[in-house]
Amino acid sequence: MTGMRRLIVMRLVQVPFILLAVYTITFTLAWLIPGNPLEKDEGRRPPEAIATAMQAQWNLDDPWSFYWSYLGDITGVNWLLGDQTGPVIDFGPSLRHENWTVGDIISDQLPVSMTVGLSAILLALLIGITMGTLGGLRPGSWTDRITGSVSIIGVSIPAFVIGTALLMLGGVWLQWLPIGGWGSWKHILLPSLALSLPFAAWIARLARQGVIEVMHADFIRAVRAKGVSQQVVVVRHVLPNALLPVLSYLGPATAAALTGSFVIEKVFAIPGLGMHFVDAVLGKDLTMIMGVVLVYSAMLVLLNLAVDVMYAWVDPRIQLNGH
């Protein structure tokens, strides 16, 4: 396992550099958004002198100084050098929602986005693997055609349509589930189902392809020749090999699902980060943009690492040597 250890160490060493690059690029792009985050879009404006002074107070008049002071805040350097009050890693207050710090908002809303994302991925695995395996075992059959069409629908119908349809079905007609909002397990079902469908469709296609390929492999014929039952063949021998592509898809898919979906969060009125992030960009809420992007980048890097490790562990044929 030295290969794996080396891989983990190498990747972890890379993390700060990746994050610094992300910080720099995001900062540059966010700074280029026109306008002043402290100013409201409509309504009465404070006098010019005030606007200028407020910009200065938040370093918004000087990109260079904002870049470095904010970098100091989020790395904890300013905390170390300062009087060590307040949070070590300080994302600062949201520029547009002044009663909140970015740290508060992320710690409130990231778990919500993660809950929806995780349950969507689990649902996607369940739906996708079942459909893919059923289809792949009998390619060309009716089962295959039905599961194939369902997965095409899952990929191609936009989330807001599926979301609204599910709301109508579960909330209005059946009256089983609440309409939007957050607070109990009932609130999780519809949004995670809506979010899971495109992922489920991909997983189904990957699984189907994998099953078809493995079913034709020589070792399966050998296992069958031994007289092993179909169930055992599929579960013990086909699936572990056929699902490797699904596993490698799982990393990016989990990351994508966790980062929250703007559309799903909007339709189901879920207080997650995805929607907030879009608002932050539109409103040029610099601290919010930087905070969310950095937290997500860190999560992404770590998730990818986890998937690589997992991949090697599940399939010992894969050699990890740090590349």
Partner: protein, 621 residues
């Protein structure tokens, strides 16, 4: 296969942990949903209607409105007197008024909160609200200059702050006389002063909370008994949310006091829970002066960014009051409310379209030159008049917005201000529009091109709008086709997101731009001051010394009827002669509440709803 299950088990475990860690939401007696979220709960820092609604629930000012006709009723001030010249006002405060921690509400609370509003350090959008108070404007200017010229090597920031406090106490006409009498001295009479005093930015806040005072136990007890004025303010190091920047001399504030665990308020409600974008829960304040019988004991505000979802939730009975119903959803329901023939009676009787205290308009750039340096045809009022005369507003509200808003020919809305009847502006008259263009010097040559005396063609007109809402794009497109058809002028639509839009608007980088204005206080000046050349919101660059002088005259007029006549004549001239902006229609606010379940909702254009005035008639589910 077992190894495959490991990632799934890990994911499942993570999911279960997250679900278990999440605190659910409590129900409430009255549930409000809004497309807009609450930006801030700090009264002095707010400027949105949604935020102010919260402020009126959490804080109680000197006076309040009767929301049927917007007359003034006593609140923390039980009575008041005015000097014969109308300059000195004295308010007697209810001695039983308490903050939610049990400490008394005193005149010092108002003095401090208003000083906070008036300090450049607070950067309030409404810092100018009290500029008619004696010495207030001078104080604001003085502090601003002192900050601009502050040199940390010369003096300490704290000494400047001490000086600021004494300048305020000595020069500004806001004084506490004892604990329960507040005196306000004006520089000139303000006929609508009481209306201003009911307005959210003038609500009192609790100084020890806002500054985050860390006090000794014995001081805490004194504070609770006699108010914060009875104890010495702690050193700046012992204030969690306020500090003075040694470099700039400026008071810097953290705004995190406006949170459930920390906020102390004096209104009918206290902040019980606030999770961003998730739920804002209010509970009745046990220390409030009084509660109306039947007012909800708890109120939940939920945010529904998607209008369809909000409507579904309302339809199912999850919501009592839905504010700001969005454009595309409301049209069919409103039609059904007008025409009948829809089977869902509850939805139809629940939808209410109320004309609001605001106007949608388009601004003309009145500057002589465009930001590109080119000559600006709209510098000429005759051209602006021609465009206004060529605008068929009725067609826009009937077919484009579909809300049948009352069309507007002036900025001040109809039937909104007692004692003020807005004048008529220009109507729709295509023939006169063309004549107007001709008298501005724009005539057609033989090939049908619109040219001026020196033969230069009329430049293509750029119409700037915000892409944030389909409504704005649709109105802009309608204007383009009307003007192209009736005036034969090429119009280009320029759509920008709201940030880029405001940059252009500020810089005067537009020819015609969309706009919207809500009035703040119950007086025409809340609209007409916009046309003062020096006003901070004069995006049009409109500069007319005659209008400025007449606004000043009206400001110093003490007879109300005369003053209203003067203002009416100013508004008449602005919208008949100068036309710096083209009013389209009064804004219509669409909300949903079932009259069978809820009573006490205002339908006055000012649309300020005290949540404590609401009565829920619905049986608890």
């Amino acid at each position: 296969m077992l190894r495959f299950l490991i990632p799934i088990v890990v994911l499942l475990a993570a999911l279960i942990t997250l679900v278990l860690l999440d605190r659910g939401s409590d129900d409430a007696e009255f549930v409000i949903a809004s497309e807009n979220e609450v930006f801030t709960l700090d009264p002095q820092r707010m400027s949105w209607l949604t935020d102010m609604r919260m402020a009126y629930a959490l804080f109680e000012g000197l006076v309040r409105w009767n929301t049927d006709d917007f007359s003034i009723e006593p609140a923390v001030a039980t009575s008041w007197t005015t000097s014969p010249d109308g300059l000195t006002w004295r308010f007697e405060l209810d001695e039983s008024a308490r903050w939610s921690d049990g400490s008394p509400v005193t005149a010092h609370d108002f003095v401090w909160s208003w000083k906070r509003l008036l300090s450049p350090d607070t950067a309030a959008d409404y810092s100018g609200l009290l500029f008619d108070v004696l010495g207030a404007r001078e104080f604001w200017d003085w502090r601003n200059d002192a900050l601009a010229s502050f040199d940390p090597s010369n003096r300490s920031a704290e000494s400047l702050m001490d000086q600021t406090d004494s300048v305020f106490a000595e020069t500004v006409g806001i004084r506490a006389i004892g604990d329960h009498t507040l005196e306000v001295e004006l520089a000139q009479p303000v006929p609508y002063l009481l209306d201003l005093l009911a307005f959210a930015p003038l609500l009192p806040v609790h100084r020890p909370t806002v500054e985050g005072w860390i006090l000794h136990i014995e001081d805490q007890e004194v504070l609770r008994q006699n108010g914060w004025d009875a104890v010495d303010p702690p050193a700046w190091e012992d204030r969690q949310f306020a500090s003075i920047s040694p470099e700039t001399g400026r008071l810097t504030s953290k705004h995190s006091w406006a949170r459930p665990e920390l906020m102390i308020s004096n209104g009918p409600y206290i902040l019980d829970e606030w999770r961003y974008r998730r739920d804002l829960r209010l509970a009745q304040n046990p220390n409030a002066r009084s509660h109306r019988p039947g007012s909800p004991r708890s109120i939940l505000i939920r945010s529904y960014p998607d209008p369809n979802t909000a409507l579904l939730a309302f339809d199912r009975g999850d919501l009592d009051w839905l504010t700001g119903v969005s454009a595309d959803v409301r049209r069919d329901l409103l039609d059904a409310a007008d025409e009948g023939g829809r089977d869902d009676e509850r939805l139809v009787r629940s939808i209410h379209a109320v004309p609001a205290y605001g106007t949608d308009f388009f601004s003309f750039n009145c500057r002589p030159e465009l930001s590109s340096g080119a000559n600006n045809p709209f510098h000429n009022p005759l051209v602006r008049r021609a465009f206004a005369l060529a605008t068929d507003k009725q067609a826009i509200v009937d077919h484009v917005t579909g809300l049948r808003e009352p069309i507007a020919s002036v900025l001040t809305p109809q039937d909104a201000i007692v004692g003020y009847e807005p004048p008529d502006g220009l109507g729709f008259d295509p023939v006169m529009a063309v004549a107007e263009l001709a008298s501005a010097g724009w005539t057609r040559n033989t090939s049908g091109e619109l040219i001026d005396e020196s033969g230069r063609p009329f430049p293509p007109v750029e119409l700037l709008y915000t892409t944030s809402s389909a409504r704005h794009r649709r109105i802009a497109a309608a204007l383009r086709s009307q003007w192209q058809q009736l005036l034969g002028i090429d119009v280009h639509l320029v759509g920008k997101d709201s940030k880029a839009f405001s940059v252009d608007l500020r810089a005067g980088n537009f020819m015609i731009a969309r706009g919207r204005w809500y009035g703040d206080w119950g007086d025409p000046t809340t609209f007409l001051e916009l046309f003062r050349s020096t006003d901070g919101n004069n995006d049009r660059g409109f500069n007319n010394p005659d209008i400025d002088a007449r606004l000043d005259t009206a400001k110093h007029e003490s007879d109300t009827a005369t003053r209203m006549r003067q203002l009416r004549s100013i508004e008449h001239d602005i919208f008949n002669l100068h036309m710096p902006l083209l009013p389209i229609c009064q804004i219509v606010e669409v909300t949903m509440h079932d009259p069978a379940d809820t009573s006490g909702m205002t339908s006055h254009p000012r649309l300020i709803q005290y949540l404590g005035d609401v009565t829920c008639l619905r049986e608890e589910p």
